[in-house]
Symmetry: D3
Subunit: 238 residues, 6 copies
């Protein structure tokens, strides 16, 4: 029995509010149950120096967590003067995941920055961020296309992410904080629509797992991502 | 005529959502029109070393802005590795303002941190933050009192803040970004219920102002703060 | 009775030594009693990148305090690796104050940096710095004009600053450290010659103050600044 | 055909020199072909404050690369003033991998730090580091046991790591730099002796991969790790 | 012929103003010609953690330069966020030099910090700092002794420093900036009264020098330090 | 009697392995007994901005120590976020020493960076680094010359360095850690072939020394450097 009473293959209540932010070219407030992440997509018509003149653009991500998004207050990274290793690891993962579905040449010499800020955390913030970032990116690119700056859509498909794990010996989908903090194994899957894998990160927290366990988690991930793909389609019409 | 069509002494639409955050001991999402600030109050039963053993507590504030809260994306302070002078100036002001209505001896040896994070900015973020921080602080202290840890209320009264300025030669209340960026004078008033002043910061951006101008802005500030005090009362019942 | 025996509207002994530094284009050692601040003005014929090509110049300020300028030694900011919030707040105020009397277009594409270093502190270091910075800036601009690089004087008038406060219930002028550390209210006024206000920052340290209190402090500030204006004129001949 | 002429399931020349460092409690110079990593294990009989008093120890890792370990010189992280996201990601992975085979309670209240410094890089530095770190850790714990400070061996088994990937459409084992920089998929496997998985990190660099691809890489990883396990046994006698 | 017209073995005008600072336990404004350094000695009755409980005290130094102490403005180290290698090298030298004449056991468990801040620079700031620091330290220790906290004088003798070099092929004493920037060799000598050497740092800037050159510079250094010792005695009476 | 049993004028076992690194343009693993330093020379055909357009090149050095190169583990400078004063002092010394034998004009507009990383430390790391850096620099410049990019050799001669000191009252050559940590005087000599001096740094750790002591150490330094010069010649053929 899961602490939340959910079935093993049941996602938390999923919600996506597109266009949440007044200023950003694309944005989405994404909720995986009590995990709430605000993603904004900012389009800049210039690239950082090391990317210029190569006839292609860039998609990157930054991640942050409000100090009291969690049960106990964490120190503000801006006040500490540096981003934690965890923060950097997550924002690198988000950026890679979205680049996996973007044709950077078609995007042209512009940069899109996906800011993923966790307003409230209850496990799975990085997977919520990736899933919502696709919506923000989709809206931002739609805007560029409407402005006639792009003819061919550089977004090749959808990407979504979800966490799976073993909790009390059972493979479960979309772990919340209670499960995550006691899970034997914690895995994050970034999947493309159609079933291909963009990234897998599976870690044994307690006992190591085997091939069979990895495959069972992957099957759950497909179920979860299908639900997310449907929601992404619903809120963007794309 | 103000860009927004408001009367000179008219506040923007004011909204306060208490208890917005699931984890914090007190919280408030405060909206001054399109300026949205999330304030959380975190209670810790221990003090930083330099405050211990003096028989009193501490109230402090931190301030941040999501990178795309503004028209164009700003660099993330955590990534830059330091907080700007503006950020530090604002969070010091918020802390002083809330301490002005808190009896630190009655609070006892505990610290309350008010995290003020700007979700969306349209001018007046610091005044919205102070006004919402009072609600978060009120709720956090109510919680401590209910838990029987405090008998006498350490919160001595309400505090609110609003900006005023001269725009096209007219004194106006609660400037939005359009006004703020072209105002001749910009002033922030932190007022106590009853009319006393906790802090005034008035700066000539273009032409210098005179005593009469300062008094006219102060009269507007009283009007605005009275409206905020009423809203604070409404959402907290205190 | 003030700790120093001064009358409520009496400044400390005021001294300004222009040209104190051998290398700077303009300089002034300013003394408000035992508060000693060395201000140098450095002229650079190039602007920081974000200011170039706009047909105007820039005036900026930096502030520092020698570690043992105070009663007990403070940590050296260079060793700590960052400037405190207080330092940044003060140097921003000094910069704004001097820009309030400078026509940046007339100055042309050059930058003048006012370094204000506190050699000895006894309260009122920021107001002494602003008052002395005007002398350093005046001398630096005189030098540019003499070198025929500027025809029209970009300095529109004088600016001076002084602190006022309520001490033992009495409004007093130019607080020294003994008064400052026990004052109920602490206010800094930056005034232009002629009486207009460039900036007011008034903070209730203990009890809040009212409009009448603010006006009484402002009247004292005018008395103090008139004395400073006279001294500025005496040492620069301008 | 692989650039190195190796068969798809062929590791590079593997070498481990235990006791390479004169001062460390355990050490190993590990070579995966031209990738050379020096790992030292430092035993400290005290824990960082946040780990004290819990009746258990800690194993942690730090990772660094000499500036000219690579084809072109990289900036020295100590000079830049911070560790890159990549560095932090890798050292977190190494630490988790070694903790997966350590019983921290049996270790007792002491900390072992594994410093992994890349002397020369040719792809696969993190997997070489993990594999060599086990040797350094084994030797350090042997030393503690010989000194009679530990009766029961806290090291539960061996751990090794190897990278796999798809290169020109073929699954290959132990990628060198030439392969790594052009691989379609890059995966790092951290395996326990016996076949269980401690960690999998698989990333699509170009085309996404499918479940079958993941399984094929995992099979190669088992082949590679078996060779590493044998070498670990040979050089430690354990 | 020296740019200043001085004889090869002639010091610049030497001046020492003891007790320059109102707050410090000991202080000295030292002038070597146009090089002006303010040294303060701060006594703290507690040691940094790593020095406690060893029955001895510590003498340390920090060095800084006002941004416009030099011909062209240098960046403020506090704003850059770190001290330069040059600054650290100099403050380490000053600390060692003063410890060379202090019996740390006799000093007892207290720390004396010598802050050396260059108000104006014209070559030789580190040697002026060392020479003036002795006066500040002497005064601070006299104060501790007068307060009956110390019976036996922990200051074992005088220390002074001066620079020598080869300029246009001639060995010269106490180089000013004009000489220093064109000297073939630059050497700093830290000498004890009586002729022993605490530290020599000699660097060939252009042509390398030989043993004879080193000895000639050392002879000049003795002449210069004798003059400084006499001045130290005159201003402290010790 | 020296702890190592060496004669006073006897160097430790000297070893230099040229071309140790696969990637660098020049490299040398240098061993002074148990002190092992890896030096790489990296050639870049571009200069830092402040050196461009002056018709000359630059030679610079960076120094680092692996955390467990020493008896007890030191904190990693990259993790601490800054290089220590000692590190900066040493790398500045190495850079100056190599520039003393390089004609920067003949080198042309390119930069050579000498990375000196201490793999194992047993005293004298900076002198080993300088001595090995000459080999790495020699090989790098030979490479540039072979590629026909340089006709005239910009390396004017050899440079080597060795430490000397007084241990138990006797002048000794090439101190190891045991001697270094108890020596009364510690001196580093950087000598040119032919006997001229590039740099001397002599510090009294305990008792001050006199002129005679300095000369005795210098004589030992000549003996040691002659041995190093011979080894440099042997391994480079130059």
């Amino acid at each position: 029995m899961r602490p939340s009473g959910r079935a093993p293959d049941q996602m938390r209540q999923l919600e996506m509010i597109p266009g949440f932010s007044a200023h950003a070219e694309g944005s989405c407030l994404v909720k995986f149950g009590r995990t709430h992440v605000l993603v904004t997509a900012s389009v800049e018509e210039r690239l950082p120096p090391w990317l210029r003149g190569q006839g292609k653009g860039w998609v990157t991500a930054e991640y942050g967590m409000l100090p009291r998004a969690t049960h106990t207050r964490g120190n503000r990274e801006a006040a500490k003067g540096k981003q934690s290793g965890r923060t950097q690891e997550i924002q690198r993962l988000i950026g890679r995941s979205l680049r996996a579905v973007t044709d950077l040449k078609l995007l042209g010499e512009r940069q899109i920055t996906l800011d993923c800020d966790v307003i409230q955390a209850d496990g799975g913030t990085r997977t919520a961020a990736i899933s919502g970032a696709w919506v923000a990116l989709r809206l931002a690119i739609d805007g560029i296309m409407k402005a006639n700056s792009l003819e061919i859509d550089p977004l090749k498909g959808r990407v979504a992410a979800v966490s799976c794990g073993f909790h009390n010996g059972t493979a479960v989908l979309d772990l919340d904080y209670d499960e995550d903090s006691t899970a034997e194994t914690d895995a994050n899957f970034v999947l493309l629509e159609g079933g291909h894998i963009a990234e897998v990160q599976a870690t044994a927290e307690g006992a190591a797992f085997d091939e069979e366990g990895l495959l069972r988690m992957m099957r759950l991930a497909r179920i979860g991502c299908d639900e997310i793909f449907a929601m992404q389609h619903k809120v963007t019409g794309r």
